[in-house]
Subunit: 245 residues, 2 copies
């Protein structure tokens, strides 16, 4: 299972933001993963033609950047829209008819927090990944011949299953192109392979499902585990995520 | 999968020491898990009649405590005996003929470090667990009617598969006695159930296996994944682990 392809770039999986400092991110492309729902929403908004997405790490900065850019402000804490912001963290809020050519300024509980940690710690490049843009991200990573870190946003620094599942799905796609000497990565890949054929049932067993289902967000979550429904490649450049596809 | 038995005590799994501060350990029994090899060695030494085990967090303190207690000093860093100490971290070094009625003073890379973190953070009680004493620990935890945290020692704060597998094996035994609203715990249990019937092959795919196999420790590791070969119940009392069976 431990690859012996030592000439290939390395791949690691960081199971929660609290483990990020254990990894060498300065020479790695980091894939930010927040399945429920930040990176699924980002993939969707860019696929639907958003000009760019500015991820910020506080509601105050979100309001300020919204004013400066004329962008749509969006944010969620604990699954709910933040007072003072206009929209939430649901991919369904960003159809083409609404978001095309607009700038989205967004802050979320876990995903945008991890993205800013990666910026501060000097990641070589930042991409966001989710089931809706799985194949686009996989294709990109295979082309780059660079070390990769899959960064799971988790839930308030704890491990969560849905982000790990996506890391596993991505590893399953790209494993032949990397040296993987990382128990987290193999566990993620095995978890995905164990459950990939009954993902919609399995996801309902997770703690995050229960948390968001209490807000009536089942349909949102089903969308968030749908592969390749929003093919886009969000890459962070000049303080914003843009679609590089 | 998320238990609804809210009157039962809670069980959480901490995947690496770096995540310990996210959990409420002051009202929990913490099970320290370091499959390769600290807690397997501890179970074995106590099963073979060691009077007590004093876990310390530095080689210097190990030497000092060895002098004070007249005990056997043992320690390992990165899988090798520490210079200045007499023995290593292999269960095979502690047969009854050697260790009976002796005090063992031990320091290791991951397990004793986590144990000391739990002491400092005020765990209600500390027990050590490993495959060699799986059933004894499971039986004890079921009787206590108290919250439980399964603490995986990991590898230098990173996640590892073997400690998570043991957490999963323990959860499989005791899950009906606890409320489990913890993705880490369900992942561990699923990982164990996925691999339990081919554990000896599976364990050879882990990063730690490769690290220790390079030192010729395959037989040690096979012992460390053998269930109930050293039935003992190491509980921390008065600065030492004693066999409460």
């Amino acid at each position: 299972m431990t690859a012996k392809k030592n000439n290939l770039p390395h791949l690691h999986t960081v199971l929660t933001p609290q483990l990020l400092d254990l990894y060498e991110i300065h020479d790695s492309i980091v894939v930010i993963i927040d399945v429920f729902r930040a990176t699924s929403t980002m993939a969707t908004a860019l696929y639907h033609g958003a000009r760019k997405i500015i991820p910020v790490d506080s509601p105050e900065l979100c309001i300020e950047m919204g004013k400066q850019t004329g962008g749509v402000t969006a944010g969620e804490r604990d699954g709910k829209i933040i007072p003072g912001l206009s929209y939430g963290n649901s991919p369904s809020e960003y159809p083409r008819s609404f978001i095309e050519n607009k700038t989205l300024v967004i802050t979320t509980t876990n995903g945008t927090k991890l993205l800013h940690m990666c910026l501060k710690q000097g990641a070589r490049e930042i991409v966001t990944g989710s089931f809706p843009n799985l194949s686009a991200v996989a294709h990109y990573l295979k082309q780059q011949k660079a070390n990769v870190i899959l960064g799971c946003s988790g839930w308030k620094n704890r491990f969560n299953i849905e982000d790990t599942l996506f890391a596993g799905a991505l590893i399953q796609e790209i494993q032949d192109h990397f040296t993987i000497h990382c128990d987290s990565s193999w566990m993620a890949q095995q978890l995905y392979m164990q459950h990939k054929d009954h993902l919609t049932d399995y996801i309902k067993t997770t703690t995050h499902w229960h948390r968001l289902a209490a807000y009536g967000l089942e349909e949102d979550m089903m969308y968030c585990i749908s592969k390749d429904v929003a093919p886009s490649l969000p890459i962070y450049k000049d303080s914003a995520l843009v679609n590089a596809l």
